[in-house]
């Protein structure tokens, strides 16, 4: 059981706009997060475009639980636990593929794409005819699953609210990422995966509301030209929106950044898809939404990136899962997303812009991960773990914008920490709940 003092001490700090550094490398909190947070949250697993055809599947994780996300012959998507009902062996040991069914290598139990038990070898001889009701012994489905805009989520809590209810007002902003075109999004290739010695919450904290770090962390990418902003503080005069479960940042400085470098025809086409309030937001001179995080660990980034002097910058978009592996250890999953009906040329330029800026080799990503690891490793220290971190930015000086057309509290700076404070409040209240 967790030390009740630990949680209440952290909660007190968060209420004051502070946070003890130790939260970024604590085995005790990791176990608690597994049970109370990830097992009760809507976890993003895959995008439908990764499994376009009948029989397609990918293997995905919620912390330590492995799931197979499949598309059956009736075009239905399923999320089933990747564990045979006989001895628990993984029935799928690859990341991706196409199959008629899943057969366990240990004793040969066979399951359909929806998880239904099809065959038990030597069933009549070993168990007796009709002694086992196959309906009771299929692969376990995730207690809840949901799909929004092609994004497949699962929740391990059978009593969880629906995905649609959970997303709630965040959809108003997630629209900008997912609803730019009639055809929707597709994943380019497969997600990049890599393991970093950093806590998942640092990544979520960064994407949910850290417009502040760019001017110093990413200074080199402005000098070298991949970040096409006038200066590294391009989010200073921006907007940050804080909601209980979602935070997002927008720029509002220069016209290039505001369109995130989407070419004019794509901008015009997407404006027809947004509702009047969404258009009203854009018409205030703010950018398309850039960085965001949906609690707990699904992040978004849509931004312009330059990769050649021969062509204008191109927009790129990435979805993220920060999968906790252990205290202070995270597997990053980075999807590069693009409009399915965009031209091949656009997809190619968007990919080039992505790869030079984000992902395993991305020049902005490299320095983010470096920061996070150099916070995580020292956070174990006896003295360091108790260090109180200042999370007060904006508290004394900012009030929400009165006539903001969207949901949530919008603040007239992205160099602020409202969305981060909201993230930590949600995090601690989730851990406090039995």
């Amino acid at each position: 059981m967790p030390n009740p003092d630990l949680i209440s001490t952290i909660a007190e700090a968060i209420n004051k706009g502070e946070l003890p550094l130790g939260v970024f490398n604590s085995p005790e909190l990791f176990e608690l997060e597994k049970e109370r947070l990830f097992a009760k949250s809507w976890n993003f697993l895959a995008h439908e475009s990764e499994i376009p055809n009948a029989g397609d599947y990918v293997q995905r994780y919620i912390v330590d639980d492995s799931f197979i996300v499949t598309r059956d012959k009736q075009n239905r998507v399923h999320v089933v636990l990747n564990a045979c009902r006989h001895r628990g062996r993984k029935v799928c040991s690859v990341e991706k593929g196409n199959a008629r069914n899943f057969s366990c290598p240990y004793h040969g139990w066979v399951y359909d794409l929806d998880g239904a038990l099809i065959d038990i070898p030597y069933e009549d001889e070993g168990y007796g005819k009709d002694a086992i009701d196959h309906a009771d012994w299929g692969l376990m489905s995730a207690p809840k699953m949901g799909i929004w805009r092609g994004m497949i989520f699962a929740n391990l809590d059978p009593n969880a609210e629906s995905l649609d209810d959970y997303l709630g007002d965040a959809k108003w902003y997630m629209d900008f990422y997912t609803n730019k075109s009639e055809a929707g999004l597709e994943v380019l290739g497969s997600p990049q995966r890599w393991v970093v010695d950093a806590d998942w919450k640092l990544a979520a904290d960064n994407f949910v509301g850290d417009g502040y770090h760019t001017f110093i962390t990413h200074a080199s990418t402005i000098t070298a030209g991949m970040l096409p902003a006038q200066s590294g503080d391009f989010l200073l005069d921006g907007i940050q929106v804080a909601m209980e479960h979602f935070g997002i940042g927008l720029a509002r400085q220069d016209p290039l950044f505001n369109s995130l470098a989407y070419p004019p025809p794509m901008m015009e086409a997407m404006r027809k898809r947004f509702n009047p309030e969404q258009i009203a937001m854009l018409d205030q001179g703010v950018s398309l939404p850039t960085h965001a995080n949906l609690f707990p660990n699904l992040s978004f980034l849509n931004a312009p990136g330059a990769y050649t002097a021969m062509a204008p910058p191109a927009p790129y978009m990435t979805f993220r899962i920060w999968r906790p592996l252990a205290a202070g250890k995270t597997e990053i999953w980075s999807w590069c997303m693009v409009e399915k009906d965009a031209t091949d040329e656009f997809k190619q330029t968007s990919y080039k812009a992505y790869i030079l800026s984000f992902g395993t080799s991305g020049t902005l990503e490299q320095d983010d991960a470096e920061n996070w690891s150099q916070i995580t490793l020292p956070a174990k220290g006896i003295m360091a773990s108790k260090l109180s971190l200042n999370y007060s930015m904006g508290q004394a000086i900012l009030k929400p914008i009165d006539d903001w057309p969207g949901p949530g509290n919008a603040y007239p700076l992205d160099f602020t920490e409202f969305a981060q404070r909201a993230f930590w409040k949600k995090w601690i209240s989730t851990l406090e709940a039995e």
Partner: protein, 168 residues
């Protein structure tokens, strides 16, 4: 076509020289080894069944997919004082072995090499080991070897290193 001994030794010396430049962080000199039309790719690898193994390396999606200009931008960044992932720099050792050379018909040569890359940083006693097979195409420009194409086939689907702020 057989490769004569002196040509083999010449190409071998070239790839050792290239590795030395990387391990010495002589990035600008390293960039000069690349042809203007060069491509530098590391496809994302996805574990598939043996039967579907042909789909393992993503044709159109990589960890790197660089033009020479993009390599140059990365190197320009590394030359600044705020490229934090390489401040301080990674200590790397490129062990390049198992050189196989195949002459192509247009005075280009296809090389296959095995790469074991040791990477250490800061005061950590541990290390990252990145293992890969590299497929290169090289040719001569004004009597100097230039790399036209490199494809790096990693031996990991999930990469075990903080970032790819280094070159392979």
């Amino acid at each position: 076509m057989t490769i004569d001994e002196s040509l083999f030794r010449d190409i071998e010396a070239f790839i050792y020289h290239e590795a030395e430049l990387l391990d010495n962080h002589q990035h600008n000199e390293w960039l000069e080894l690349w042809d203007e039309q060069a491509s530098y790719r590391m496809p994302v690898r996805v574990t598939h069944t043996k039967r579907q193994k042909g789909q393992e390396f993503q044709e159109n999606f990589g960890h790197f997919d660089e033009t020479k200009e993009m390599l140059g931008m990365r190197i320009k960044r590394l030359s600044t004082s705020t490229a934090w992932a390489e401040e301080p720099q990674s200590r790397t050792r490129h062990f390049v072995t198992n050189l196989r050379i195949n002459a192509l018909d247009n005075e280009q040569y296809q090389l296959k090499t095995n790469l074991m890359l040791y990477r250490n940083r800061l005061d950590d006693a541990g290390h990252d080991l990145l293992s890969a097979e590299r497929h290169d195409v090289i040719h001569q420009v004004n009597g100097e070897w230039r790399i036209l194409k490199r494809t790096i086939y990693m031996d990991q689907a999930t990469l075990g290193t903080l970032n790819l702020s280094i070159f392979l």
